[in-house]
Amino acid sequence: MKVLVAVKRVVDYNVKVRVKADNSAVDLANVKMAMNPFCEIAIEEAVRLKEKGIASEIIAVSVGPAAAQEQLRTALALGADRAILVESSADLNSLAVAKLLKAVVDKEQPSLIILGKQAIDSDNNQTGQMLAALCGYAQGTFASKVEVAGEKLKVTREIDGGLQTVELALPAVVTTDLRLNEPRYASLPNIMKAKKKPLETLTPDSLGVSVASTLQTLKVEAPPVRQAGIKVKSVEELVEKLKNEAKVI
């Protein structure tokens, strides 16, 4: 089966971001960028499906600026067969991304679409669900285990109380949780080989998709700063402070 994996270029997860002085956005100038960690897990899962002989072709797709080619090359180095960049310099909302991905799905007709459960920049956790809705497909979100059984997909999902297993008709959309797998590292030979793999560039216009949004960001602020407190010397002092000063126990 053909598997489509969506990846996003985001700020590296270890970077402590700062808000711009004019409160317009987070300052991303000269900040280290990387593939969203949940998307790495999505790629890894697709590659494992290929290694098991279930997936026949893996297509990595990203919606974003020209620089997102780097993340697509990473996906190719990790085992994707070819890549598609839907190039847009605009800051797109999840619905617009889902509509663009839907256009790619219509073109490529994959049996399985894997996305991360959320991007660590917008923290939206929406795109996979929206894509499933637009395509009319079933969705298996926050997946920690994925098994293909004929025309069905068995997905174990992480839910608030524990784990839930659902069975989905294919084609379906799956979004990955952190515990789905441990992504591999790309080896140098694979990084070199990835440079020769095909990478196609499309635009929202060429896909006939409007990326207009009803959502506008008015302001981005730094959160209230928590003051570092005091260090206590002993457990007795801690208990005394919690009882008499903080009055929380």
Partner: protein, 311 residues
């Protein structure tokens, strides 16, 4: 203007997060309709009708809605919005809400606003981005605002005192795309993590799952819930539903005790709105001490039992 709030419930009990979501709806203003979707809702609808601030309880009963499969819930909600012309649809940002709500938004062809922590006005909301390291104020011009609510951002409304009318609505048919197979729920006598007044959390420093007994003993003395960092979950010390952080649960208790947790950005995202934070860690350079109100540099294996005895 009327607002549709989708209730969270399980095993015949209305989840606390529903009350926080109704509180957010009250800040927006307008009639509030609470939707109960699922099976065997007779007793629960009486409970829901008593929730303060709710004008009407809509009950959608169907086996197809039993486990809130999004393929079946989303068309139901989108249909109700089209039928009744709601201005807002709100759901708790639980794993259920996060699962079906974006699907509802896409069916209605509107953007969704995730995890609001403040209502500025009926069309303007605040929400954290970048693991809580920035707060965005967003304005929506959509005809229907579809919003998930971070429960720790709003004080719960009273569970008693309301007198809503109860109305049955036609439940959607099974879309036939998905089926519930089974569930493995963690059993615990302790309070629910997201609603607990005190949370005791352990990280990699606990070394193994057995040592979490120390935290359970401490938690039981305090009437606290027990949480964990991702490191502790990934190492298999405890199940994933105990994870606190950007990708786990968001908590804001009166007291948060972080034991053997370094305090990575992703963990802080889930607990830094706690009223008082206590850190117990033997590494005095650990970032957790930068947000802790009270820090104790000590070996947790001696400090935690000592703390338990001192209480």
């Amino acid at each position: 203007m009327a607002i549709l709030v989708i209730a969270e419930h399980s095993a015949g009990v209305l989840a606390g997060a529903t009350l926080n979501t109704v509180a957010a709806a009250q800040k927006i203003g307008g009639d509030i309709h609470l939707l109960l979707a699922g099976e065997n809702l007779a007793a629960l609808s009486e409970v829901a009708a008593k929730v303060a601030g709710v004008n009407k309880v809509l009950v959608a009963e169907s086996s197809a809605l039993a486990h809130l499969l999004p393929e079946n819930v989303a068309p139901l909600v989108a249909g109700l919005v089209q039928q009744n012309g709601y201005s807002h649809v709100l759901a708790p940002a639980s794993t259920n809400g996060k699962n079906y709500l974006p699907r509802v938004a896409a069916l209605l062809d509107v953007d969704q606003i995730s995890e609001i922590i403040e209502v500025v006005s009926a069309d303007t909301f605040k929400r954290p981005i970048y693991a809580g390291n920035a707060i965005a104020t967003v304005q929506s011009s959509a005809a229907v605002k579809v919003i998930s609510v971070r429960s720790t951002g709003f004080d719960a409304v009273a569970a008693e005192g309301g007198s809503a009318s109860v109305e049955a609505v036609t439940a959607a048919a099974d879309a036939g795309k998905s089926a519930f197979v089974g569930e493995e729920l963690a059993k615990s006598e302790r309070p629910e993590l997201t609603a607990a007044k005190i949370v005791v959390s352990g990280g990699r420093g606990m070394q193994n799952g057995d040592n979490f007994k120390l935290l359970y003993a401490l938690a039981d003395k305090l009437g606290a819930a027990v949480g964990a960092s991702r490191a502790a979950v990934d190492a298999g010390f405890v199940p994933n539903d105990m994870q606190v952080g950007q990708t786990g649960k968001i908590v804001a208790p009166q007291l948060y005790v972080a034991v053997g947790i370094s305090g990575a950005i992703q963990h802080l995202a889930g607990m830094k709105d706690s009223k008082v934070i206590v850190a117990i860690n033997k590494d005095e350079e650990a970032p957790i001490f930068q947000v802790a109100d009270y820090g104790l540099v000590a070996d947790l294996f001696s400090a935690v039992p000592e703390l338990e005895k001192a209480l």
